[in-house]
Structures are given as structure tokens and as C-alpha cells.
């Protein structure tokens, strides 16, 4: 049920019910899946609308930057399992749908979104999901929206699952096979491999992290700066491209450029086309973008 909020109504009216339209967030990944193709640009509401530490949820305008949200949550020792380039917005990160680098600990981005207040292609506001941390009521529209690049509906306001910030976190790196690092650790937040060096992010209680640091030191891993990763995305195919870094366990390769379209079967593409047509029969939402034209 959509809670009455002037900002959502203004957003709905801005989107309207005709003409090509897209939402502009921080535009940090504006080219992913295509571009705006001259569609009219609108902005989603900005600001934190309700922060409930005892519920571990936060209601936030989709136009809010990840940095602003992180700052507010940090006051309460909380975070959301999302990341993105400096200036990214909550709505943008959800639309692009790339899971956080720390996904092994914080989970996939699709699991962060609990409720989304949207405007459909017909200009009518609707709500996907629900405000509680557990919910199997009806179809899982939230998961469908994450990574859809705004082609199914435009998201104005969301409720996200928050989680406690880890007490202690440390990056280590060394010339070791990633499998050995995985065997020697419990739920590392991230494991990266550049073909020679493995970097690992350990999180948890101080004494537990110290214990793992000690174990990994024997394998030759030493404390290191957080790695700086190339902006592009590709998918693991068994070989690392030049300058590529594999996120072990996710199949994502961080590389200088986005690689070509991944192989998706015709059956899946047909289903996806039916999905897009079902939500947006006239093709007015982000007409320049195709979620299947991007790398990862």
C-alpha cells in the first residue's frame, strides 16, 4: 500500500503517462545497457524518510546518494549491502543491479530491497514487496526490478534491509591461490584474484579477525590497501583478460571495459521481451536501454 507522501505524488506526476521517460540519478553508470536515447529525464525523491534501527530497515528516496545514506546509517552502526561509484544513488545502484564487492558477507543486492514504490508505464503508482524483513506475499516484483535498468517501472522510494557494520575489517594480499585462502578463512567478505595475487577482505569480531590474519600470514598474505578496481565488468570464462581481477565466487571480472554481451539463450530473451512488453507495452520507460546488452 502506498503511503501518502507529497514527494512520491510529485514524482508520479512528473513521470506522467505518456512520452519516453527515464530517471536520472548520479549518472555514474549512465551508459550501462545503452543511454537515455533522448528520453525526458526525471528525478526521484531525495532523503531518508524513516530509519528504524530496531527493525533493521530504512525508507529512503531513490534519488538519495549512497554516501548520504551510508553516513546516516553509520550513526547507528548500520549499513546496507550496496556499493557504487562516488555519487551513485540508491535508485541507480538498484537499477544497475550489481552486487557489492563485499557480497560474500553482505549478500546479493537483490536481497537488500524489501519494498519499492514505483510508477508504472501507465503513470499509475504501485508498490512492490512489503516493509517487513521477511515476506512471501505474492510475486517477488522487487527482485525483478533490481537490475532492470528502469525498463519495467520507475522506482521513486524504497525500503532497504540494513545490517550491522562489522566491528573489524582488514584487507590482506599475497601470491597465493584463492582456494587456499578460502580454506583458511570463515566467510571472508571478498576474495579477489588477479591471476597471481589473491586479496581477501576479512570481517568480524577483532579476535576472530586477528586469528585469521595470523593463519593467512603463514600462507604469505600481509595487510594491504583495499584494491582499486577497473570500472568495467565482464564475466569469468576461465581466462582473465589483461588488467582483469576476478571476484572469486561471483564470476564477475573487474576490467578496464565492459565486455560484449553475455550468452543468454533465445528462450530467456523471449521471456524477457514478454516481461518488458507486459510492464511497458508502449516502450516508454528507458527506451534506449537493454539489460541484456551489458556485461555483468
Amino acid at each position: 500500500m502506498t503511503v501518502g507522501d507529497g514527494r512520491m505524488e510529485a514524482f508520479r506526476s512528473e513521470v506522467g503517462d505518456s512520452g519516453a521517460v527515464c530517471v536520472r540519478g548520479g549518472a555514474t553508470r549512465w551508459g550501462v545497457g545503452g543511454g537515455s536515447a533522448g528520453a525526458r529525464e526525471v528525478s526521484a525523491p531525495v532523503g531518508i524518510m524513516a530509519l528504524e534501527p530496531a527493525e533493521m530497515t530504512v525508507m529512503v528516496g531513490a534519488g538519495t546518494t549512497l554516501t548520504e545514506l551510508a553516513g546516516e546509517l553509520a550513526v547507528h552502526g548500520l549499513e546496507v549491502g550496496m556499493d557504487g561509484p562516488q555519487g551513485s544513488t540508491v535508485g541507480g545502484a538498484l537499477a544497475v543491479g550489481r552486487s557489492a564487492l563485499r557480497r560474500r558477507r553482505v549478500g546479493q543486492i537483490a536481497d537488500v530491497l524489501l519494498q519499492a514504490d514505483c510508477v508504472g508505464a501507465d503513470g499509475v503508482a504501485f508498490t512492490a514487496g512489503g516493509p517487513t524483513v521477511k515476506n512471501v506475499t505474492g510475486y517477488d516484483l522487487c527482485r525483478l526490478l533490481v537490475g532492470s535498468l528502469g525498463t519495467l517501472a520507475l522506482v521513486g522510494r524504497v525500503i532497504l534491509r540494513t545490517r550491522p557494520v562489522p566491528v573489524c575489517s582488514v584487507w590482506l594480499a599475497g601470491e597465493v591461490e584463492p582456494d587456499l585462502v578460502l580454506e583458511a578463512t570463515y566467510r571472508p567478505a571478498s576474495v579477489l584474484w588477479d591471476g597471481a595475487r589473491t586479496s581477501v577482505l576479512l570481517e568480524g569480531h577483532g579476535a576472530d579477525v586477528d586469528q585469521m590474519v595470523e593463519t593467512l600470514a603463514r600462507l604469505g598474505l600481509v595487510p594491504a590497501e583495499a584494491p582499486v578496481l577497473a570500472p568495467g565488468r565482464g564475466r569469468w570464462s576461465g581466462l582473465l583478460p589483461d588488467g582483469g581481477v576476478l571476484e572469486v565466487g561471483s564470476g564477475v571480472v573487474h576490467q578496464p571495459d565492459d565486455s560484449g554481451p553475455p550468452i543468454v539463450s533465445e528462450g530467456v530473451l523471449n521471456l524477457a521481451a514478454r516481461m518488458r512488453a507486459s510492464f511497458d507495452p508502449s516502450g516508454r520507460l528507458n527506451p534506449g536501454r537493454d539489460p541484456y546488452s551489458r556485461a555483468a
Partner: protein, 472 residues
């Protein structure tokens, strides 16, 4: 029928009255279903052939696993072709280093974790019916369980699904790596209650066994104090692996059975399970002891060994068996409310039940606000069904009014579709029907379920008993 026999073999196509009666119901209280021909395919190609044959003859089809669902999701309405997947029960591949497994839909949930014994890995979703429910059913219902508080419900543990779509086409949604390419059609499919197609192979994520596990039993002189402690634990930034509440009625009923040492004079007890690495777990035990004492806990007991841990959990899991001595019949509800409203809503549930002159026992996943009020009654008593249904409906209304949702883990099925408009506006429901229509434009897959706009199944109304051995 002839097409189905040709596609499978005569032994695996049944139409006798006994089979049709057996497959006309599931573990829900809903009665009156009518099964058509019942098929037992063993390959993806056979499932596809069943779907194609059903649709070619203008029949609907309903997929079914072990039939342990509690919302009537597998109850057939107008003699559909029943596609029973329990014979597709092979564990196809376990990749320990990548922590994933490919399984067929008929694999029983607990069998997968048993199969993984010794690898240091397990399948995290642990619905109460895990000894008999299938992983295909878990995918259909996006099943939960006590340990989903920390680890997430089934959707977080399904990487990819091979699906026979309602036109018979076979597609693989998702991929072994997890992050979706294009639309997250895998995420849309999980929890579809069999209305979007049929899962024929499932790639599940495996979870590392935690090196340290601690189980705590806290007891309180009021439900309110227990509920406030739940909120305080979460607000303090701790997410236990499981956080369960049982009220006095439950404790009194189960203690004689399990001798877990539950204090039978307590108004409520909490079972808190913490897992992870030793120092983190020890620190959380210390913090929970402190919070418990400031919130009025009478005692905090930490299980000393595996035997004591098992006894504490056994009591939690025995609630259903134990209540049979109180009343012969029961109706179980499943709603979720904001955790901070627990005390208030549970209090209201006691009032509702009192008004309807029934008995209620509350045993539930408190950590995520997932209520499971269990209404006890004797079906032989005249007019009792009306009172049970009235109380059930009022509990749903109170939960939604408190900012909650209709279901946390049982799904909508037939049971709750009439309540969908309490939570969703017509536009919300329209958006959901758009998702369904993309998968199943002709409405052949398990129709009359989930959305109130679907076909009716009006003859399925009566209530019956839950099977023995079920817990919630």
C-alpha cells in the same frame, strides 16, 4: 490421457480414485480439491511433454512436490493434470570448492544437507517440514525456517533454475555465479507457487557450517518483556542465526514430552542461536545476557553441550505433536509484523481468540516478526469452524494494520488470496499480474492461486486436520 501415457509410461500415469483423492489435497486445512490425471515424470523432457499434453487438451496443470504446503498452493481446482515431481529426486552434482549443488526438484530438503555431511557445507533453508518437503517445493514457496533470520529465505540460496515454461519450452534462469544477467527472472520465478512454470533442475548455494554454535534459552514473566528483548537484541546490531519465541501454553504442552528443562511457569521463553567464530559468538552471548537482564529475563541458560542444544530445539519442533492432547484439531496462521509491534500484536491475538472462545498457542520466528498463531479446536463442535475462520481473518487484519504482511513463509496459495487486497492496492496487484502473464499468458499453470483476480476454486473451502509430525 493417451498422450500422457505415450509420453511417460502406463505405470507413471494414474487416474484411479485412490490416487485422485490422495493428490486432491496438501498439508493445508483446505479440502475439496479435485485432481485430474496424475503423472510422475522422471526427466525434464517428460515434464515438458506433460505440460504440452495438458495444454493441448485444454487442461490446466499443477506441479507438486511432497505436498507439505500449508496454504493450499498444490490443491487442484478443476481436475488439472497433476505433475508430481517426487521421482525426480537425484542430487546431480556437488561442487564443494564453488559451494553449489545441482539437484532435481524432488530431492528432500534434509536429504541434501545429510548428503553433504562431512563436507563442512549445508543447505541453509530449514523449513519445519524439512524432513519431508522437497527443494522444488521450497523454490515454489520461497520457504523459510528458523535459521533464515541470518541466512535469508530460499531465494537467497537459489543460483539458477531450469524451468519448463507453461508452453513447454525449457529455459535456465539465473547462473551458477549468482549475479543476474539482464532481468532477474530467477528471482521472479522463486516463490511463484507453481504459477510460473515447473522447476526441473535447481542450482543451490551451499553454506559453510559455522565453526561455533551457541544455543541460549531465556525465560520471561511476560510476553511483552520477551518481545522487548527481541527488539533490543536486533536494535543492538546483533542478528542471531535464529530467534524463536514460545508462549506459556506451548511450553506447558511440550515440556512433558521433551524434558528440555523449560520453565513451565514462564509466560514466554526465547530460544536464541548464535553462530560464527568463537570470539564473536562469546561476545554476543555476553551482550545478550546483559540485554536480557535489563529487560526482565528471569534466567539465561546457555546449552552446555550438543545434547542440551538438541533438547532445546526438540521442544521447539515438538509443539505440534504435543498439542494433540489439548484439542484434536488446529489451524495455523502465518503473518509477519514489524518486530517492534510484537508485544502489542501478540496481546491482540490473545484477545481475538478469547472473543471467539478458542485456544491459541504462539510459537514463532520472533527475530523476523514472523507470527505463527496456532488455533486449537475440536472440529466436532458445532459452529466452531466459523469461529476459527473469523479469528484467522482478524489476525490477518491486525497484522496488516500493524504494518505487516500476509505471509512470511507459507505463501498465499488458495488460503490467503482473498486477503491480498488488504495489503495491496488494485495497481499493486495489476503489476503482479503483469509478471505472471509474461511467464504464463494463457493462465494454465496452477490457476486460481495467489492473485484474487485468478479463476475461482469455490468448492475448496472446508477445513481439515494437519498431518502428524508437522511443526511450524
Amino acid at each position: 490421457m493417451r498422450d500422457l501415457v505415450a509420453a511417460l509410461d502406463p505405470e507413471r500415469v494414474q487416474v484411479d480414485d485412490v490416487a485422485r483423492r490422495l493428490y486432491s489435497r496438501d498439508a493445508s486445512v483446505l479440502r475439496g480439491g479435485r485432481a485430474g490425471v496424475i503423472c510422475f515424470p522422471v526427466t525434464t523432457a517428460e515434464v515438458s511433454a506433460c505440460v504440452v499434453a495438458a495444454v493441448a487438451h485444454g487442461r490446466d496443470f499443477v506441479a507438486r512436490g511432497a505436498g507439505t504446503g500449508l496454504a493450499g498452493g498444490a490443491v487442484p481446482c478443476d481436475e488439472p493434470v497433476m505433475i508430481v515431481l517426487t521421482r525426480m529426486d537425484r542430487i546431480l552434482e556437488v561442487d564443494e570448492s564453488r559451494r553449489l549443488a545441482w539437484v532435481e526438484p524432488g530431492v528432500v530438503n534434509l536429504d541434501l544437507s545429510r548428503h553433504l555431511g562431512g563436507t563442512g557445507l549445508h543447505f541453509a533453508p530449514d523449513p519445519s517440514s524439512q524432513q519431508s518437503c522437497t527443494i522444488g517445493g521450497n523454490v515454489a514457496n520461497n520457504s523459510g525456517g528458523p535459521h533464515c533470520l541470518l541466512y535469508g529465505v530460499t531465494s537467497a540460496h537459489v543460483l539458477a533454475v531450469e524451468v519448463v515454461l507453461p508452453d513447454g519450452e525449457v529455459v535456465v534462469l539465473g547462473n551458477e555465479e549468482g549475479d543476474s544477467v539482464g532481468y532477474d527472472l530467477r528471482g521472479a520465478f522463486v516463490g511463484g507457487e507453481g504459477t510460473l512454470g515447473i522447476a526441473t533442475r535447481i542450482c543451490v548455494r551451499l553454506t559453510e557450517d559455522p565453526p561455533e554454535v551457541a544455543t541460549l534459552l531465556l525465560d520471561f514473566m511476560s510476553v511483552g518483556a520477551a518481545a522487548e528483548t527481541v527488539s533490543a537484541i536486533i536494535a543492538a546490531g546483533m542478528i542471531p542465526a535464529a530467534l524463536e519465541m514460545m508462549d506459556q501454553q506451548v511450553v506447558e504442552a511440550v515440556e512433558p514430552f521433551v524434558n528440555a528443562g523449560y520453565p513451565t511457569d514462564a509466560a514466554a521463553v526465547l530460544i536464541v542461536e548464535l553462530d560464527g567464530q568463537p570470539a564473536g559468538v562469546a561476545d554476543e552471548i555476553r551482550r545478550i545476557r546483559e540485554l536480557a537482564s535489563t529487560h526482565g529475563a528471569r534466567s539465561v541458560r546457555v546449552a552446555a553441550d550438543e545434547g542440551e542444544r538438541e533438547r532445546i530445539w526438540k521442544g521447539r519442533k515438538s509443539a505440534f505433536g504435543a498439542i494433540a492432547v489439548i484439542k484434536p484439531d488446529y489451524y495455523l496462521n502465518d503473518t509477519v509484523i514489524p518486530r517492534t509491534k510484537l508485544a502489542e500484536v501478540v496481546e491482540r491475538i490473545y484477545e481475538i481468540v478469547e472473543e471467539q472462545d478458542l485456544i491459541v498457542m504462539n510459537v514463532f520466528h520472533a527475530g523476523d516478526g514472523n507470527l505463527h498463531p496456532l488455533l486449537l479446536f475440536d472440529a466436532r463442535e458445532e459452529g466452531v469452524m466459523e469461529r476459527v475462520l473469523a479469528a484467522g481473518e482478524e489476525i490477518v487484519r491486525v497484522s496488516v494494520d500493524a504494518g505487516g504482511v500476509l505471509s512470511g513463509e507459507h505463501g498465499i496459495g488458495l488460503e490467503k488470496k482473498r486477503f491480498m487486497s488488504l495489503q495491496f492496492s488494485p495497481a499493486d496487484l495489476e503489476a503482479q499480474s503483469r509478471l505472471r502473464a509474461a511467464f504464463d499468458p494463457d493462465g494454465r499453470a496452477n490457476p486460481a492461486k495467489v492473485l484474487p483476480s485468478g479463476a475461482s476454486c469455490g468448492h475448496v473451502t472446508s477445513l481439515g486436520r494437519l498431518p502428524e509430525g508437522t511443526w511450524v
